[in-house]
């Protein structure tokens, strides 16, 4: 099996980090790794194809949150985790019950 290599980044001694900050650091590093090593030139093909079809494009890194309950699935995205979760909460509130015909 191929060896999975990882990079350890030391935080400054005594640095106090919240769970959220750590999550953010990890997400940022993962995004850099994905974009640099896995994206390759593939995204450019899709981007250009869409532009040729008249789309104006914009790409952004964001939080994506998902929720699953039995058969129900919701997902939302946002610039901050709070935004994404707020959106998820609003979406979930639409389906509190199935309701009557």
């Amino acid at each position: 099996m191929e060896q999975v290599r990882s990079v350890r980044v030391a935080l400054p001694a005594g640095a106090r980090t919240t769970e959220e900050e750590l999550e953010l650091l990890e997400a940022a590093f993962r995004a850099i790794v994905d974009m640099h090593y896995e994206g390759g030139a593939d995204w450019k093909t899709a981007w250009e194809a869409l532009e040729r079809d008249g789309w104006t494009l914009h790409a952004d890194l964001c939080w994506r949150v998902t929720a699953q309950r039995g058969h129900d699935f919701e997902s939302a995205s946002g610039r901050t985790k709070a935004d994404a979760l707020g959106q998820l909460l609003r979406l979930a509130s639409l389906d509190a019950t199935e309701g009557c015909p």
């Binding site: 609003r90 979406l91 509130s93 639409l94 509190a96 019950t97 309701g99």
Partner: protein, 415 residues
């Protein structure tokens, strides 16, 4: 993928899990026309039984009204069976436009567009009119078709607690930065039969510069002194920006729905609403029948008056018998049983007594709020109601719930 080896097993397991959760829906076959009395084959294969129907949306008793049936026959003869086209290609007849004009007059709006159903009207209207810069703020008990329509729209989606005007106002303030804020509500809520506080909603909309969307499917034809709907009842005709409603309940009960309201919004639907653009035109005989319904409801309020009297009589009778009812003024009268199993057994026992009323329980209604939703019709005669009340009393006594309220019923049967 081979259907036999993988997919069939998967879907069978899914269906089994629905069945074992007690949520499997089964159809009961009716062998008569729709009316106050119907013949039902239940269980499947059993000889049909005549029962009193207490669960149809046939509020005005027009589903099999001779004048409506006659008009539909004439429509069939004069304009044919079907259009084989969407509206904007070759599916619009003069009668489609006539019905749209009649609905506009009746609802007191600026313009109307027919859809194959109200489910389709709700599925198309939001996406056609609103976008990413907007927010739709819906009452938490709006109909499933509104939820689906909202989800198809790119606007932000939010909710307010059922009929809670303070919470709605909070949401209007929270979303003040959005281009359009749209308050979304049913007129009569199908679960409890309660009416939206449309006067307060219209005031809030005015104060916060928001728009109002109303689905009046359970109201058109009979709520309000002239039966024009919840907006008439609440004195806000002309202040509602979009109304959707169905022809599939009080208004003859066949099929069809519409978006009615501000001229420009209706025109946006004509240009962009996908169920209008991509689904077949309402059939001529249905349009002809609906035109006759419009004549009947515009000519006289006799049927909606009778419905109102029937609902009051039914409510009084069931209350006096000791059943626990959701309070309200509409012809939807939920008899609260709270426990899902009790609701199912109660419905079965009622059927044995000749009364057809179905049990609703989670996930259709919230947990611990199971019920039999009864619905009145102008077609009900006093004797139907008296027989119904006697049956509810008898079955209620059998289960020992007469005179009991929520806490006591839950203590006895659990959630």
């Amino acid at each position: 993928m081979s259907w036999e080896t993988k997919a069939r097993a998967h879907f069978r397991a899914e269906l089994d899990s629905i069945r074992s959760a007690g949520l499997f829906k089964e159809e009961r076959v009716i062998r008569s026309v729709q009316g106050a009395e119907i013949e039902v084959e239940y269980p499947p294969g059993a000889p049909p039984r005549k029962v009193i129907n207490m669960c149809a949306n046939n509020y005005l008793g027009l589903s099999s009204h001779p004048e409506v049936v006659r008009a539909a026959h004439a429509g069939l003869d004069e304009r044919g069976y079907g259009m084989s086209s969407v509206r904007f290609i070759c599916g619009t007849q003069d009668i489609h436009h006539r019905l749209e004009r009649r609905l506009t007059e009746f609802l007191g709006t600026e313009d109307t567009l027919l859809f194959p159903s109200c489910m389709d009207a709700n599925g198309g209207v939001f996406e056609a009119c609103f976008g990413e810069q907007d927010v739709l703020i819906a009452d938490r008990l709006v109909h499933a078709s509104i939820v689906d329509g909202m989800r198809l729209c790119k606007a932000m989606q939010d909710t307010f607690k059922h009929s809670d005007m303070a919470h709605l106002e909070e949401k209007l303030i929270e979303h003040a930065g959005r281009r359009f804020r749209v308050i979304v509500t049913d007129g009569v809520f199908s679960m409890d039969g309660d009416l939206a506080r449309l006067d307060a909603i219209a005031d809030l909309a005015e104060r916060h510069d928001a728009l109002v969307f109303l689905d009046d499917s359970h109201a058109t034809g009979f709520i309000g002194k002239k039966g024009r709907g919840t907006h008439e009842h609440c004195g806000v005709v002309g202040r509602i920006d979009i109304i959707t409603t169905t022809l599939g309940k009080a208004m003859g009960g066949a099929s069809g729905g519409c978006v009615s309201g501000r001229r420009e919004l209706v025109e946006m639907c004509r240009q962009r609403a996908r169920p209008y653009l991509f689904s077949n035109s309402v059939a001529p005989e249905i349009v002809a029948g609906a035109l006759q319904v419009m004549d009947l409801v515009s000519r006289s309020t006799e049927r909606r008056d009778r419905l109102e009297e029937n609902a009051a009589y039914w409510r009084k009778g069931l209350s006096e018998a000791g059943l626990d009812l959701r309070p309200g003024d509409s012809p939807i009268v939920p008899v609260m049983l709270y426990n899902a199993k009790l609701a199912q057994e109660f419905s079965r026992d009622l059927f044995q007594e000749g009364i057809y009323g179905v049990g609703f329980f989670f996930p259709v209604v919230p947990k611990g709020q199971a019920r039999i939703r009864t619905q009145l019709s102008a077609a009900h005669e006093r004797r139907h109601l008296d027989l119904g009340i006697a049956a509810f009393r008898k079955v209620g006594a059998k289960h020992g719930i007469l005179g009991l309220k929520r806490k006591e019923i839950l203590a006895k049967f659990g959630e």
